[in-house]
Symmetry: C2
Subunit: 237 residues, 2 copies
DNA sequence: CTTGGTTTACGACTCTCAGGCGCTAACCGA
DNA sequence: TCGGTTAGCGCCTGAGAGTCGTAAACCAAG
């Protein structure tokens, strides 16, 4: 940090900074990530995350969103947060590229049109990925699964309004295991995360009691307050 | 990500990448962060985080540790993890500098010698900080407090061996509120995080029952497994 | 040696909340 | 009207955290 001037001239070194986006959605009972297939060397044919170099004047988050717009309508994005920064000198074979990855989420009902080289891939059966992108997808999935359990992040995966059983399917696909509708409803209700819209869904062909339609109260991330242990002492006593 | 060559030449833009370290320790019942006072412009006189430009061949974590070594004996570091990356174009007045911050922790018994411009500062009463470093310290403190409650991260703040009441003081200082020794012992024991060494501490002048001496079982980060809600269904039933 | 003061250890109780189960409600179609 | 299906909800259980009180184990002073 000493010698700002000297250090600034330092930037003629051959490295660059990329912003990447791990965009996840739930579809057909599976958790999927948005990837595009590289046409040019290196790593031609392999599947990569959307992204690219940061310009001199933009922030990393804005850069990720901007470059993502080439692959998907960014208005579909319901959430975007910084994930992690990868800096292994060998992560790219041709140059020193530091990459900051963002986690983006798309609601289950959105199905934006995609370019020919781009597709949603099941995170359980990823094709051959370029560079360290497969590992970055793993980090994104882990972050999503963790935050689903102690935040209201489900708002970013669910449709604007939904029945509890539909929400259960979304959570089950995202988490990778079954969840009980009863428990999901109670947990999200106790946290004040969801509320009934007042409407009911029409039953299917087989009949059944019409389901109450819910929505998330907030579309911003909120952490469940006493989400773990070692709380402060109770104020009354 | 298209046109690698073109993009690589892109790096002649005037920006650089720094690695910063938020190093925290508990001392005298307070949570402190390691800062150094800038002698040169810009922001002369203000207090800044240790760090500086990343070289062309090193990783960010190694870079943070290397540049930290100029301020403190890095052997004292008991933990180092990536915190976040700041990219506001205006965060530095003279140049475009993207900075990746790391969170470092030092045990309570370590008191490494420091250069003249460097000091431990109480995080509750920070002096005027340079750039966005004050905000980055806030992020580091928040991360520490969060992880203390659902991981065994206390190992990085505590001495190698300790009594429960001593550990209670460390946790209270780090968390910023009082914790009960009874509860702390039960929680950390149930998680299998600490174990008795077999020794007992000698009582002080006033007497008192000699305390059992404990140590952390592991000095690597371990997450408490069912740390929150929406667990997978029980396998037996 | 006794007594009072001090600190630690630990069992007992309560409270919160997640997970599971089963009954009832409310719809369909035949 | 009746069987089938899905949703809602109350009740029970169990895990784990927070609190409190008591016993254990030391010191020092008289």
């Amino acid at each position: 940090m000493t010698g700002e001037r000297t250090a600034i001239e330092h930037t003629s070194e051959a490295y660059r900074h990329d912003a990447l986006a791990v965009v996840l959605r739930v579809n057909g009972g599976r958790l999927e990530v948005l990837l595009w297939q590289r046409g040019a060397q290196p790593q031609a044919g392999r599947w990569a995350l959307p992204g690219g170099p940061v310009t001199a004047t933009e922030r990393l988050g804005a850069s990720a969103a901007r470059q993502l717009a080439a692959k998907v309508d960014v208005r579909a994005l319901s959430h975007l947060e910084q994930l992690e920064t990868r800096s292994d000198p060998d992560r790219h074979p041709l140059a020193r590229i530091i990459a900051t990855a963002y986690l983006g989420l798309v609601p289950a009902d959105a199905d934006p049109t995609l370019p020919a080289d781009t597709a949603w891939q099941d995170v359980q059966t990823l094709p051959a990925t370029a560079f360290d992108h497969g590992s970055i997808v793993g980090s994104g999935v882990a972050r999503l699964r963790s935050k689903l359990s102690y935040t209201n992040l489900g708002f970013a995966l669910a449709e604007p309004s939904f029945t509890i059983s539909r929400l259960r399917d979304v959570y089950a696909a995202a988490l990778g295991y079954d969840v009980s509708a009863t428990n999901l409803q109670r947990v999200l209700t106790r946290r004040n995360a969801i509320e009934p819209t007042g409407q009911t869904a029409v039953p299917g062909r087989a009949g059944g009691r019409p389901a109450t339609v819910y929505r998330f109260r907030s579309r911003a991330l909120e952490v469940t307050d006493p989400f773990a242990t070692l709380r402060p002492p109770t104020a009354f006593g």
